[in-house]
């Protein structure tokens, strides 16, 4: 009896050993998640995050392999991301996010056919993603020069997806079907009146249809409407996700410290981040924090280093001038910095900042104020606030400042678009008196003459 039990126990133990041994072998035979050649390419914080995610993905829960793939993707390690996402799909084929991210990464790798396949599966699993997946799939088809497939894809995109509808119209305009595109563009413009690309595309269609006058009007409108269309969907997704990983995540966390009582802690954290990896936007933020902490010398040092490493821009120069002023540095030097900023970009803020420095001469004060009005007028013009722009240009146009001819030209433009044609012509003529070779003013006057001739012929 005892022997039989022993045999039974031995058999059971044998089965256990064989079964669990097989399980262990199976388990150990899985490939490790890929490791990118990150050394020397990513900063230490991001490398640590990669390691943390890698450890999690080695024994993956449902989302671990996806997270590792996303982290690799947002830092540009696309082949490694591809491999992670393949495994994420194998582990959890019912998850739309796995398919979607695989589609994005394959798009970046130029593997368009596989990318499209993945995106369409993601769309099948998650109805909320359908339009976006079809849009990226259409772009994949265009990369393969498969126009018909691209158009088929965008035709299935809903009417609320602006980029998709724009792409449909774009394909029509660029394949000699402008007349078909016009109703789509008219509908989109009625709904999204502030999107300049719609006017630009409609102008192209109108030109192809022989309506040069309508094309001219739409191009002029495109100059005065500020919004665009986000057409880089893959870049946008990668950019948004980047804040969840590595140093970017730490930067987002640091941003939460940006409260009045936390400035010291925030400055310390930003200094640490800069020592890990130099990021221009962090240097700029730190300089502003140092100014708020009353450490203007430190801000000056940071901004000078920023200019050396990232180049001078008007924004950085304004900040440097303000920091130098706060640090009570030589006023002549501060003025030079503001003048340099003004040379880089005509900005009303710079004019305002410079005004205390030119108070010694009434003429200089007038010129600077006029330049400021001109700059504000340009901003108003670009945002289609024409009445405000007229007031500003009317103030700037009579003063002999460095952009006086342009003030008169843009005054003319505003008046023209407000249908005050005679006043507009006067402004264009004043522009030409100041700058006889101003092409756009001369063209506009020529255009008016042309219209008047046509009108006279009509009346005759």
């Amino acid at each position: 009896m005892r022997r039989r039990r022993l045999i039974l126990l031995t058999v059971l133990l044998g089965i256990d050993v064989v079964f669990f041994g097989w399980c262990i072998l199976e388990r150990t035979s899985r490939p490790a998640p890929p490791r990118p050649p990150a050394e020397g390419i990513v900063d230490s914080e991001t490398a640590r995050d990669f390691q943390r995610l890698w450890v999690l993905a080695e024994n993956p829960g449902p989302a671990d392999m996806l997270a590792l793939g996303q982290a690799y993707a947002v830092y540009g390690f696309f082949p490694e991301a591809d491999q992670c996402l393949e495994r994420a799909i194998a582990l959890r084929p019912e998850a739309a996010a796995n398919w979607f991210w695989s589609g994005l990464v394959l798009n970046r790798l130029g593997q368009t056919a596989r990318s499209t396949e993945r995106l369409l599966e993601a769309a099948r699993l998650d109805p909320d993603r359908v339009d976006e997946c079809r849009y990226i799939a259409a772009r994949n088809h265009l990369r393969d020069d498969s126009l018909a497939k691209a158009e088929d894809e965008v035709r299935q995109i809903g009417p609320d997806h602006l980029a998709g509808q724009y792409l449909l119209a774009y394909l029509m305009v660029h394949t000699d079907r402008s007349a078909e595109a016009m109703p789509i563009l008219d509908r989109l413009i009625a709904r999204f009146a502030q999107v300049h690309r719609l006017y630009q595309l409609r102008a192209r269609a109108e030109e192809l249809l022989g309506d040069d006058e309508a094309a001219r009007r739409d191009r002029e409108t495109a100059e005065r409407v500020p919004e665009s269309i986000a057409t880089d969907a893959v870049a946008d997704h990668l950019g948004e996700k980047s804040y969840e990983f590595g140093l970017e995540r730490r930067i987002v966390a640091a941003g939460r410290l940006n409260t009045p009582g936390n400035l010291d802690a925030l400055a310390n954290e930003l200094t640490t981040i800069l020592s890990i990896s130099y990021r221009p936007r962090i240097a700029r933020l730190l300089a502003s924090i140092e100014l708020r902490r009353g450490r203007s010398d430190a801000a000056v040092t940071l901004l000078k280093q920023l200019i050396r490493r990232d180049g001078a821009t008007s924004d950085t120069l304004i900040e440097l001038g303000l920091a130098m002023d706060a640090a009570e540095q030589d006023l002549t030097q501060v003025l030079l910095v503001f003048q340099q900023a003004l040379q880089y970009q005509l900005d009303p803020e710079i004019c305002r900042l410079m005004s205390p420095f030119v108070k010694d001469s009434a003429a200089n004060v007038d010129r600077l104020e006029a330049l400021q009005k001109h700059a504000e007028g340009l901003q108003a013009f670009r945002e289609n606030r024409l009445d405000q722009a007229v007031t500003l240009f009317e103030a700037a146009a009579p003063v002999a400042h460095q952009r006086q001819a342009e003030s008169n030209f843009f005054l003319g433009e505003c008046l023209w678009h407000l249908d005050r044609r005679e006043a507009a012509l006067e402004a264009y003529r004043r522009c030409l008196e100041l700058r006889p070779h101003h092409g756009r003013a001369a063209d506009r006057i020529g255009y008016v003459d042309q219209i008047e001739q046509v009108d006279r012929k009509g009346e005759g």
Binding site: I24, P36, P37
Partner: protein
């Protein structure tokens, strides 16, 4: 016991399996057998450089060519001159220029010395405001006097000079790249450094506006490489008296293609002007990867404003081209640089040459894999040994920030040449 032990060990069991091979889309080619001596200009690079344009030109007329470079980070125009002992001496021609994109050397005032036209971008990064300028550096003895020929424009990417209206003076073609809006202009020379602007095309993203007599009728036509909302090549046929007829020469419906550069050259030496167009711009992405549609196209001029388009390279991230007989066999070869190859791989090509078999069939040879992120290239005989040398410029705004370079040269040696 066994299940318990397995359960405890399970999370710590190592992964020892063999992973599937990683996808590799990098452009790598066999190493060239032509000998080149690489060299970096200026001080050692500590900060990622942004060299937007390089060219080889005899600026001072002493028959010793110099390198002229636009430094868009430090906002200056530099020249490098080779001393008798072979050292390169850096000279700053002009500074404080708000992101110079391109320099064109020409005697604009016909006074016998060479002036420089500088396309002022105004901002490296996307910007639709009026920050661009057309700048003239007028040579006056050993100095350059600065004049603004056109301002109140959006970002200017290129300026070319030629007599466009047949009145004997030099006019200008201007690429107002802008960002969301832009134009192609020609500027009519009215004398005394006054130029009247005329709009030829309203479209954002014009990179280059080379001039050439494309139709062989004896006057200069304008070609524009537009690469933003649309990816198109436009021709502006000079019909005389300052009038131009607009012609769409080619368009890609793949608006991800990333037009990056265009030059004119008689590649097949049949007596007319062809175009070489590189595609490979990826600047919309924070991290980039070469794409299969990147590379270089040869637009073979077949007369009557028609072109046959041949793909001659698939170099990932191709950004600029130069044409020269690099191997001395009598036909035109092509030199290409890449801005967006797979830089995580050390062997990815940044500089290649395409050997012409005499029938415009090309074999790729890799010259260099570093510096990375090259955006501009020129060829010419820098050391006056009768062989073409190469100069290129690096533009490092996208990671990885390693294997950096500013202005680099590859002087041709005297080894294996045909």
């Amino acid at each position: 016991m066994v299940p318990l032990a397995t359960w405890i060990a399970w999370p710590n069991l190592p992964a020892t399996g063999t992973p599937s091979p990683l996808f590799d889309g990098s452009s790598v080619y066999p190493a060239t057998t032509l000998p080149f001596q690489p060299q970096s200009m200026g001080p050692a690079i500590e900060i990622p450089a942004r060299i937007s344009h390089v060219q080889i030109v005899d600026l001072d007329g002493d028959s010793h060519p110099e390198i002229l470079a636009c430094d868009a980070l430090a906002h200056r125009l530099l020249s490098y001159k080779r001393s008798a002992d072979g050292e390169w001496i850096e000279h700053q021609i002009s500074s404080d220029m708000a992101t110079p994109a391109h320099a064109t050397v020409v005697d604009i005032d016909n006074d016998g010395d060479l002036d420089i036209l500088v396309a002022i971008l105004g901002n490296t990064f996307p910007d639709d405001s009026h920050v661009g300028r057309v700048l003239l550096l007028e040579r006056n003895g050993d100095r350059y006097l600065r004049h603004v020929l056109l301002e109140g424009t959006r970002r200017i990417a290129d300026i070319q000079a030629g007599d466009l209206d047949g009145d004997g003076d030099l006019d200008l073609a201007v690429a107002e790249f802008g960002y969301a809006r832009g134009r192609v202009l020609w500027l009519e020379n009215l004398g005394q450094r006054r130029f009247r602007d005329h709009q030829l095309l309203y479209a954002p993203g014009t990179i280059n506006v080379p001039l050439a007599d494309l139709d062989g009728d004896g006057d200069l036509d304008i070609i524009a490489n537009v690469s933003q909302d649309d990816e198109e090549i436009w021709g502006f046929e000079n019909t005389g008296g300052g009038r131009f007829k607009k012609r769409l020469l080619h368009k890609w419906l793949n608006f991800d293609i990333g037009g990056s550069g265009m030059i004119t050259a008689d590649l097949d030496k049949d007596g007319d002007t062809d175009l070489l167009v590189t595609v490979g711009d990826n600047l919309e992405y924070a991290y980039t990867y070469p794409q299969p549609y990147h590379g270089c196209f040869w637009f073979e001029n077949t007369g009557e404003w028609s072109f046959t388009v041949h793909r001659i390279s698939t170099l990932g991230g191709a950004h600029a081209a130069s044409v020269t007989d690099l191997d001395g066999d009598g036909d035109n070869d092509v030199v290409l640089v890449s801005m967006f190859n797979a830089w995580h791989h050390d062997e990815s090509a940044s500089l290649v040459w395409l050997e012409n078999d005499g029938h415009q069939q090309f074999t790729h040879w890799q010259i260099a894999s570093e510096p990375t992120h090259l955006v501009t290239v020129a060829t010419g005989d820098l050391d006056r040994d009768g062989r073409p040398d190469i100069v290129a410029g690096g533009w490092h705004v996208i990671p990885p920030f390693r294997r950096l370079g500013g202005v680099s040269t590859w002087l041709s040696g005297s080894g294996d040449r045909k």
